[in-house]
C-alpha cells in the first residue's frame, strides 16, 4: 500500500441547488387531489395516477386481483378499444406503464409536452372506466399466469416470497402480489368490476404531474374528465399494522447455484417520515458501497460473499428492511454469524461521525440525482400525496440533518437485532 487511507473531513450537507419549486396542490370538487411540479428543463412530462388499491386490501378470494386489474386496465375502456391507448400514446412519442404494490397501484405516462393534454385524457379514460370484456379477461389471465410461471423459474424470487410468507404470517405483506394460481384461475370479470368500483374512488386517488407545465390549464380540463366524475367514498383505506414474526428456517431450492441468506426486519411505517430517513441512513451505512460495514467485512475482508445488500422497502403498514447475502453454501454459517457480529459491534459502539457523514452524502446525492427525471419526481410527489404526506422536495434533506450517531444508536440500531428479524437460508437442493 502506498498510502494509508485518510477519511475525508466531514462536510455540511448542502441544500438542493437551485431550490426546486414546491409542488402545487389543488383539489377537484369531488376531492381528488392534483399535485403538479414544474420542471421547465425536462424534455418530457410525466402523468402519474395513484390509487390506494394494492394487493394488501384483497380479501382471501380476491388473491391477485389488484395486479390482474392493472393488466386488464390496458385492455381498453368504455371509450377506448383494446390496444388503442397504447397505440395512441406511443404514436404521440410517449410510453406508459403501471405497477402494483402491496399498498397502492399507479399508472404513468411519459409524454412530450405538446401532447400532454391528449395523453392525460386518454390515461384517465383508460384507468377509470375499464371495459373488463370476458374474452379479454380470459386471455389476460393467461398472461398473468405466464408472469407467475416466469417468477417461479427464478429461485431467488421463490426464496424472497417464502421469506415474506413466514415473516409476515397473517398479514397481506406475506402474500404474493401476483396472487395464488388457483385463485387466479377462478376469478371472474364481475368480481374485478366490483373491486374496481369499490376501491378506485375519489378519496383514494391522486394525480401527479411533473415536467414543463407552462401551457397546460389542467384544472379546467380535469373538471370535465372522468376523474371529476369519480364518486367519493367513505374514509380511504389504510392497511392494518404489521407485526413481523421473528424466526428462522432453511429452504432447499432446485436450480439454485449459490446459497442465500435472506433476512427481514420490521421498521417504522411510511408515515414516520423522519424515522424512515434515519433507516435509509442506517442501511446505507451498513451496506452501500465498499466502505460500508457489511460489504467491507463480508465481501472485501473475509471474502465470504459475492454480494450483500440491504434494501429498505417503505410501506404503509410497517416498513421492511431486507438483507440478501449471496455466498457459497459452505460459508452460510459464517456469513450469518458475521452479520450478527457486525450488529453487536454497532450496539457496543455507536458509528463514527465520518460513517454517518458518508451515509448522508450518499443518501442526499441519491435523492438529488433521482430528481432529474420527470418520472421519478412524479412518483415521489404522487405517492406521498396519495398517503396524505404533503411536504416539499427539500423536506427529506432537512429530516436527514436531524440524525446524529447517538440518535441512530438509540432509536434504530436496536431494531435491526437479528433476533427480532426472520432469517431464511436458501441452499441448492
Amino acid at each position: 500500500m502506498k498510502l494509508s487511507s485518510q477519511p475525508e473531513p466531514a462536510l455540511p450537507i448542502q441544500p438542493l441547488p437551485p431550490p426546486l419549486p414546491d409542488p402545487q396542490r389543488q383539489s377537484l370538487s369531488n376531492g381528488v387531489e392534483l399535485v403538479q411540479l414544474h420542471l421547465p428543463q425536462a424534455p418530457v412530462l410525466c402523468l402519474d395516477f395513484w390509487c390506494r388499491a394494492g394487493s394488501a386490501l384483497e380479501r382471501q378470494e380476491e388473491s391477485g386481483l389488484a395486479h390482474f386489474l392493472e393488466h386488464m386496465v390496458f385492455k381498453g375502456s368504455t371509450t377506448l378499444a383494446a390496444g388503442e391507448f397504447d397505440r395512441r400514446v406511443e404514436a404521440l412519442g410517449g410510453n406508459s406503464n403501471a405497477a402494483t404494490g402491496f399498498d397502492d397501484v399507479h399508472y404513468h405516462v411519459l409524454i412530450p409536452p405538446p401532447a400532454a393534454a391528449e395523453a392525460l385524457e386518454l390515461l384517465l379514460d383508460l384507468v377509470l372506466q375499464p371495459r373488463l370484456d370476458g374474452d379479454d379477461f380470459a386471455m389476460e389471465r393467461q398472461v398473468v399466469l405466464e408472469e407467475l410461471a416466469q417468477s417461479e423459474d427464478q429461485p431467488e424470487e421463490v426464496a424472497f416470497q417464502e421469506l415474506l410468507r413466514q415473516a409476515c404470517p397473517d398479514h397481506p405483506y406475506g402474500l404474493p402480489i401476483l396472487g395464488r394460481r388457483e385463485a387466479l384461475e377462478a376469478h371472474r370479470p364481475e368480481l374485478m368490476a366490483a373491486f374496481h368500483a369499490s376501491h378506485y374512488r375519489a378519496d383514494s386517488c391522486c394525480l401527479a404531474i411533473a415536467g414543463p407545465l407552462h401551457e397546460l390549464d389542467l384544472l379546467q380540463r380535469l373538471e370535465d374528465s372522468a376523474l371529476a366524475r369519480l364518486p367519493a367514498g367513505g374514509s380511504p383505506w389504510t392497511p392494518r399494522p404489521l407485526a413481523l414474526q421473528a424466526g428462522a428456517c432453511t429452504l432447499e431450492l432446485p436450480r439454485l447455484e449459490a446459497a442465500r441468506l435472506l433476512m427481514a426486519w420490521q421498521l417504522p411505517a411510511a408515515a414516520h417520515q423522519d424515522a424512515v430517513v434515519g433507516v435509509d441512513l442506517l442501511t446505507t451505512l451498513l451496506a452501500e458501497g465498499r466502505r460500508s460495514r457489511l460489504v467491507q467485512r463480508l465481501r472485501e475482508e473475509l471474502r465470504l460473499v459475492e454480494s450483500i445488500d440491504l434494501d429498505l422497502n417503505v410501506l404503509e403498514a410497517g416498513s421492511l428492511v431486507l438483507l440478501e447475502a449471496v455466498c457459497d453454501p459452505a460459508h452460510l454459517d459464517r456469513v450469518q454469524s458475521e452479520v450478527q457480529r457486525v450488529w453487536n459491534e454497532l450496539m457496543d459502539t455507536p458509528p463514527a461521525e465520518a460513517e454517518l457523514e458518508r451515509a448522508k452524502r450518499l443518501v442526499g446525492n441519491g435523492y438529488r440525482f433521482g430528481l432529474e427525471a420527470a418520472g421519478s419526481v412524479a412518483g415521489l410527489v404522487g405517492n406521498s400525496s396519495l398517503w396524505g404526506r404533503r411536504h416539499n422536495l427539500q423536506a427529506p434533506l432537512d429530516w436527514m440533518d436531524r440524525w446524529d450517531c447517538a440518535r441512530l444508536s438509540r432509536e434504530l440500531i436496536p431494531l435491526l437485532d437479528p433476533q427480532l428479524g426472520f432469517s431464511l437460508r436458501a441452499v441448492p437442493a
Partner: protein, 422 residues
C-alpha cells in the same frame, strides 16, 4: 444546453455538454477495446481489469479511493462491454474538482495489486456461476455461441471460467498499458467546473496521455454455428430466443433494423407484444434485443412461455419472423415505428448521465456527435420496401435457442424441423 468540443493534451477528445440546473456532473470515459479484445485463453481479462481499476490508482489505495468517492456520495464505476471499457463518474457538481482528476489516473496509474485482483476474479467467477440460475441467461449464452462461436463476441464479458481462473497481474498489466490506445473519448454533461482540463490532467505523471479519437472501423463478425440448440432445465417455462448476427451501428442497414426494432419490440403497441401477448396470451415478457455494436450486432426475438404451450409459442414466434421477410410494413406501422424512434430519443435525453452515456457510445463507435439527430432525419426517408429488403438480406437464416424441460424442447424442435423442410 450548449456543447463544446475540445481536445485534451495528448489527443483525447473532450466533449462538454453544459446543462446547468440540477448541479450534477456526469462523466463518461469510453475506451475502445472490451471483451471482444480478450486474447484466446484470457477471456474475461477486459472485465477483470475494469473491476480492478477502481481498486487503487495514483496516490490512492483501494480503500482511500473508496473513502474519497463514497465520502462525497459520488458513484464511480468501470465496466467492460463487448466493444469498450467505460469509466463512469457521477457526482454533485461542487465535488467535481476533487473527483475529476481520478478519471485519467484510473487509466494511467492503476495499482493492480495481486490481492485485489484475486478478490475481483473470485467475485466474477461467483457471478458467472450464479447467472446459471436464470433460464434467460442460459438461453442467451447458448445463442451467443450459435451466433459467434469462438469469435470475439462469443463469450460473456465476465469471461469463461477456466480461463478467468488463470488470469493474473501479468495479463492485466499488458492490457492496462494498452488502455485507450485504440481510441478514447471523454464526455462530460451537467454543470461543468471552470478550468476543467486542468482538473482532468491533475495528478498525471510522465506527460500527456497519448491517445487518438476512436476511429470508424469494422468490428468483429458473426460465425455460422448450429441453427438449433437446446439446453434442458427443470423450469415451468420454455425460454425461446430466435436471432441472427447483423451489422454494426452506423452502417447503412442498421437504421432500417433500428426502425424494425421499434416496430417489433418497443412499447405495448409493438408487433410482438400485440401478436404474442395480447392476441395469444403466450407470454408475459416478449421483445427484441438489438444492442449497439461495433461489429455484427445480434438481432434477437425473445419470449418465455409455459411448457405445455411450447408448440404454439414456437409456431407463432417463427411466424412473426417470417412475416418480417414476406410482408412490408404498412404506412401506418412505419409511421408508428418512426414516432417510437423519436420518442425513444427524447426519453433517452432526460438526465445528465443519459446524455453523456449516449454521446460517449456514439463517439466511441467513431460516429459524429450529432449522429442521433442525423438518424432521426434519415429515418423519415426510409420506405417499407427498403425495410423489407434489409430484413430479407440480413435476417434470412435465424438461429433458435431454447432452455426448458425436455418435453417442451421436443415439441418446439418438431415445429422448427417442419419449418426447415418447407
Amino acid at each position: 444546453m450548449t456543447v463544446e468540443a475540445r481536445t485534451l493534451a495528448g489527443g483525447c477528445p473532450l466533449w462538454l455538454i453544459h446543462r446547468p440546473g440540477p448541479a450534477i456532473l456526469s462523466a463518461k470515459l469510453w475506451l475502445r477495446g472490451g471483451s471482444s479484445g480478450d486474447r484466446p485463453g484470457e477471456r474475461g481479462a477486459a472485465q477483470l481489469l475494469a473491476g480492478v481499476l477502481s481498486r487503487g490508482c495514483g496516490p490512492f489505495s483501494g480503500d482511500a479511493l473508496a473513502d474519497l468517492v463514497e465520502g462525497l456520495g459520488a458513484g464511480l464505476r468501470c465496466d467492460a462491454s463487448e466493444d469498450g471499457t467505460l469509466i463512469s463518474l457521477k457526482c454533485a457538481s461542487d465535488d467535481a474538482p476533487q473527483l475529476l482528476p481520478l478519471l485519467l489516473q484510473l487509466v494511467r496509474r492503476p495499482w493492480l495489486v495481486d490481492d485485489q485482483i484475486d478478490l475481483e476474479r473470485q467475485l466474477n467467477l461467483q457471478t458467472l456461476q450464479r447467472q446459471k440460475e436464470d433460464p434467460f441467461q442460459l438461453a442467451h449464452d447458448q445463442l451467443r455461441q450459435q451466433l459467434y462461436g469462438q469469435g470475439p463476441y462469443g463469450h460473456d464479458p465476465l469471461g469463461v471460467e477456466p480461463e478467468l481462473q488463470q488470469l493474473g497481474r501479468e495479463a492485466l498489466e499488458r492490457q492496462a498499458a494498452a488502455l485507450g490506445q485504440a481510441g478514447a473519448v471523454l464526455v462530460l454533461a451537467g454543470e461543468i467546473p471552470e478550468a476543467v482540463e486542468e482538473l482532468l490532467l491533475g495528478g498525471q505523471e510522465g506527460g500527456a496521455w497519448a491517445t487518438v479519437p476512436p476511429q470508424r472501423q469494422a468490428g468483429p463478425g458473426g460465425s455460422s454455428g448450429d441453427h438449433f440448440a437446446a439446453s434442458q432445465d427443470e423450469t415451468e417455462q420454455l425460454v425461446l430466443m430466435l436471432g441472427t448476427s447483423t451489422v454494426p451501428m452506423g452502417s447503412a442497414q442498421a437504421l432500417a433494423l433500428r426502425l424494425l426494432h421499434c416496430h417489433l419490440g418497443i412499447g405495448m403497441s409493438s408487433r410482438l407484444f400485440v401478436a404474442l401477448r395480447e392476441e395469444h396470451g403466450l407470454a408475459y415478457d416478449v421483445g427484441v434485443h438489438y444492442p449497439a455494436r461495433l461489429g455484427a450486432a445480434p438481432f434477437v426475438f425473445h419470449l418465455s412461455s409455459s411448457s405445455e404451450r411450447a408448440e404454439e409459442a414456437t409456431s407463432e414466434l417463427l411466424r412473426e419472423w417470417q412475416r418480417l421477410l414476406e410482408q412490408p410494413l404498412s404506412p401506418e406501422e412505419l409511421e408508428l415505428a418512426l414516432a417510437k424512434f423519436r420518442g425513444q430519443e427524447a426519453l433517452g435525453r432526460q438526465t445528465c448521465s443519459q446524455l453523456a452515456d449516449r454521446h460517449a457510445l456514439v463517439l466511441g463507435h467513431g460516429l459524429p456527435f450529432d449522429f442521433a439527430d442525423r438518424c432521426l432525419e434519415q429515418a423519415a426517408e426510409l420506405t417499407p420496401g427498403q425495410l423489407q429488403a434489409v430484413a430479407q438480406e440480413l435476417l434470412g437464416a435465424p438461429c433458435l435457442s431454447l432452455c426448458g424441460p425436455a418435453a417442451a424442447i421436443a415439441s418446439a424442435e418438431r415445429v422448427w424441423q417442419r419449418r426447415q423442410l418447407r
